[in-house]
């Protein structure tokens, strides 16, 4: 009988121990998830101070940059990237592919290295070189200021970004590479600092679209 009780007690303690471990694991996971969420939203809350005139004025500068070859060449209306200051179709006609990273033997990173290659007419580089993916092409080419402004603030068309993430996107590595295009390529019409200022101003004043 005593032996039986000991066995029962042992079983009870073992079950309790397993339960405790499980509870702890759930708490740790929940805490971990919560921490991640907290980190993601730890930036200063975005304060919008609506001013349609200032917003539209700032977007004019933004639009000039986005339509420059350094930005637009990787936001084509078709599935082939553009090239050069005249934004012609990329030689060799590499295709977008599902993820925007090319197809088969013609993937972006096969030629585009993590850094710019030295010399004129050599491939510019970035560790994350790609086009927008096939399911969200984020086209700049051929878009009017009105269309582009509307597209940029629509999470269904801008890569699922909210306003805060849009602001952060100004410092994205691939965006920054527009100002480090490699030899022989023109820069966007204004500096990155000026662009960032206009970009943030546009968003923080309400991200108004210019008239159609």
């Amino acid at each position: 009988m005593m032996n039986f009780n000991l066995k029962r007690k042992g079983k009870f303690y073992r079950s309790a121990a397993i339960l405790t471990v499980l509870v702890c694991l759930v708490m740790v996971m929940a805490f971990g998830l919560n921490t991640t969420h907290h980190v993601a939203s730890s930036t200063t809350p975005l304060i919008i101070k609506k001013d349609s005139l200032a917003s539209v004025k700032a977007f004019k500068e933004v639009y000039r940059v986005l339509k420059s070859p350094r930005c637009m060449n990787c936001h084509p209306s078709g599935d082939i990237p553009l090239q050069g200051d005249d934004s012609h179709l990329h030689t060799m006609s590499p295709k977008r592919g599902v993820e925007g990273k090319g197809l088969f033997a013609m993937k972006c990173a096969n030629c585009h290295q993590p850094q710019n290659a030295p010399g004129v007419h050599t491939p510019p580089g970035n560790p994350n070189w790609h086009l927008p993916p096939a399911d969200m092409k984020m086209v700049f080419q051929g878009k009017t200021p009105y269309q582009l402004a509307k597209q940029l603030v629509n999470p269904k068309q801008n890569g699922n970004k909210n306003m805060q993430q849009l602001i952060e996107h100004a410092d994205d590595g691939l965006v920054l590479s527009g100002w480090n295009p490699g030899e022989g390529r023109t820069l966007p019409p204004i500096s990155h600092a000026e662009f960032k200022k206009a970009w943030i101003t546009w968003i923080k004043t309400g991200a108004y679209a210019p008239k159609k």
Binding site: K95, F104, N110, C111, T122
Partner: protein, 161 residues
């Protein structure tokens, strides 16, 4: 410029080369390791003659720094198969594809990635995969034919297993 010892895994064989990390992988493969099947064409990633596989991807070795390939898996035309019996190599022979032959190691290495990712390519798939490999002799129709044949061979080989 400084030289340093770099470990390379080429065709499943380990090599230690004393090279400038900025040196193009093609230089290392040809001049330091001595595998000359891969060719120099344009030197600016425009022609495809220098294609090798880096972790299975068809990179252009003329523009790829050797430092990018350090510790990675590199396959050259010499390592595509043990006895030159990759379906593409057999099909290339069968169809007498090359004329001067200079670009064909690059052509075959690009086609190998296509067949691995798409075992039954259409003409359009072949266009999409091979558009970056230029052939001065214009052997494109035979290249296309050989890729289709290799796809058949690969399918048969798979069925036999």
């Amino acid at each position: 410029m400084f030289f340093t010892m770099i470990s390379l895994n080429i065709n499943q064989k380990l090599y230690e080369v004393d090279a400038d990390p900025e040196m193009p992988l093609l230089w290392v493969i040809r001049d330091l390791v001595g595998l000359t099947g891969t060719k120099y064409g344009c030197g600016v990633a425009q022609c495809g003659a220098c294609v090798v596989h880096l972790n299975g991807e068809a990179v252009r070795s003329c523009i790829t720094k050797v430092s990018r390939a350090s510790g990675q898996k590199i396959t050259t035309i010499e390592g595509l198969s043990k006895d030159n019996d990759h379906p593409l190599q057999l099909a290339w022979n069968e169809e007498n594809v090359p004329q001067c032959g200079y670009c064909h190691s690059g052509q075959i290495m690009s086609a190998a990635v296509l067949l691995r990712e798409n075992p039954t390519p259409t003409d359009e798939d072949i266009n999409n995969a091979m558009a970056g490999n230029i052939c001065r002799c214009g052997t494109y129709p035979r290249i296309r034919k050989a890729i289709h044949l290799a796809a058949e061979m690969q399918k048969k080989k798979g069925a036999e297993k």
